[in-house]
């Protein structure tokens, strides 16, 4: 089971990369109480049949893990959200794409801690399976609001590659500075930093 909300985000976004999407969008919106996440891709999509099965922990398409008959990503998420007062929704159309929506109740004691947002973004941007990835992060709490948004293509144009130590460190510092700037608006984090 994942220990952090960020691990779910990583996992579900990787599914979108694996679905041969040419573009994936990841939105994170945080307010006083909830972290809302939307992951939208234009990949291979799923029929309603498959979609039904996917939420069952005993399903995987059998391609990725040749000898494992269980997929873990989505059922993990659904279970965690169910146990902690959040919500989950998924829409998908074959050959059009998939959209996953979920929200986490940051005040619920059973919600996992958020985890390290900027290092999750670093991992996603540098994933070799990712084509275009657009990340938008927004915070709007009683303390104020701010946001940042970047695409993989614009970062790659500047850094040249995402595999050498020097460019990955620059990307890490860059993403950290973005998230640090939002910290002044964090609310309720103390409750869930277990």
């Amino acid at each position: 089971m994942h220990r952090y909300i960020c691990d779910f985000i990583l996992d579900i976004t990787q599914n979108s990369f694996e679905a041969k999407s040419t573009q994936v969008e990841l939105f994170l919106f945080e307010d006083d109480r909830y972290l809302k996440v939307i992951i939208k891709d234009n990949g291979k999509g799923m029929s309603s049949d498959v979609l039904e099965k996917v939420l069952d922990p005993y399903y995987t398409d059998g391609l990725k893990h040749k000898n494992r008959k269980v997929g873990l990503g989505l059922p993990f998420l659904v279970q965690s959200v169910r146990e902690s007062g959040g919500s989950f929704d998924i829409n998908s159309k074959p050959n059009e794409g998939t959209q996953v929506y979920c929200s986490f109740d940051l005040c619920n004691v059973d919600t996992p801690p958020i985890g390290d947002i900027s290092s999750t973004f670093l991992t996603l941007f540098s994933d070799p399976n990712a084509n275009e990835l657009i990340i938008r992060r927004e915070i709007n709490t009683s303390k104020g609001s701010s946001h940042y948004e970047f695409s993989k293509s614009e970062l790659l144009e500047i850094l040249g590659d995402f595999s050498t130590v020097s460019s990955l460190c620059l990307l890490r510092d860059f993403l950290q500075s973005q998230e640090e700037d939002l910290q002044q608006y964090y609310v309720n984090r103390t409750l869930i930093f277990k």
């Binding site: 990583l10 390290d116 999750t120 070799p128 050498t164 973005q178």
Partner: protein, 134 residues
């Protein structure tokens, strides 16, 4: 750290490029590949990626690429890391955490010694079938 703009990132990149060129030409000489499938993530693979970056940066090792891959078929010893460098056998390390990552940088990359407690072989086809990969 103040919030960085894209322009500042571009300038940092340019100045870093210059200092790299000064230190002779450093080709990409090795590869660190981190297993970042569901089981890897659950076991803390993201922390391992962060640890490798910080340690390589701290030691000034820049001629190594750091990349990700999916499941390597060794889910029971995740997080797993494959290290490919010249003059050393290709090795898959299992049960890697931030501390082991540091050790791999020092022992394997710098001293050319294996971190033997953590060496695992790529699963052979027949074992793969027997164990499944869960």
């Amino acid at each position: 750290m103040a919030k960085m703009t894209l322009e500042e990132l571009r300038n940092l990149r340019a100045s870093k490029q210059k200092s790299l060129q000064k230190r002779s030409i450093e080709g990409k000489e090795g590869q660190i590949i981190i297993g970042m499938g569901t089981c890897g993530i659950a076991a803390g693979a993201k922390t391992v990626l962060d640890a490798f970056l910080s340690e390589l940066d701290a030691k000034g090792i820049t001629n190594i690429s750091v990349t990700q891959t999916g499941c390597m078929g060794l889910c029971h010893v995740e997080p797993t890391v494959e290290v490919v460098v010249p003059n050393m056998p290709d090795v898959i390390y299992g049960n890697v955490d931030a501390k082991v990552a540091k050790q791999i940088v020092q022992d394997h990359l710098i001293d050319h010694k294996l971190v033997s407690d953590h060496v695992f072989d790529r699963p052979a086809a027949d074992i793969y079938v027997k164990d499944g990969d869960k």
